[in-house]
Symmetry: C2
Subunit: 116 residues, 2 copies
Amino acid sequence: MKVVNLAEKLALFATHWDPKVVAEYNGNDIMVVKVEGEFPFHDHPDTDDFFLVLDGEVLLDVEDRTHVLRPGELFVVPKGVRHRPRAEREATLLLIEPRGTPNTGDAATAARKDRI
Amino acid sequence: MKVVNLAEKLALFATHWDPKVVAEYNGNDIMVVKVEGEFPFHDHPDTDDFFLVLDGEVLLDVEDRTHVLRPGELFVVPKGVRHRPRAEREATLLLIEPRGTPNTGDAATAARKDRI
């Protein structure tokens, strides 16, 4: 039980599309991630996907629309809905997913999601 | 499915300790709340309690310690742990709780948690 400072956690790593677990909530991983460039289109058949922009601008392609997310803006992609986050310049996000959810929608290609 | 701007949602109401639901994630309510003064000590026997400060400073008394939370800082109170948020001046928070969780730990005294 302690205060988690998101900026301090983000300063601990430089890699993109490499979410780090900073806390847990009811079996969900609370994560921070740095993004830049394009992630593959994917979906999560069993879970919604929570995005909150902390810094920068994130484009979220959801089915046939592109949503622009800026700091202090969140978006929940419902389970089963295809989506792709991307960012022209580095941006940072808070993510929430059930523990063990592959970030790509596929365990074979998923990031490790280490705890920091 | 749409972008939720937290500052815009917070501008829609002025009441304190009156969380408003702005999105859902896997059966959890994602809420914003304005706080000032002291909330009662309480616990949630069945769920962790997620706090992320958006603006201002929040003091979180957890058992016998006081944690100071500033913008960009989060804290997860594990289920069953007694806690009390308070704020000397108005502050705003993002909260996550399973839908239907009484914010006071007691349905008889809980806020309505309307969707905005």
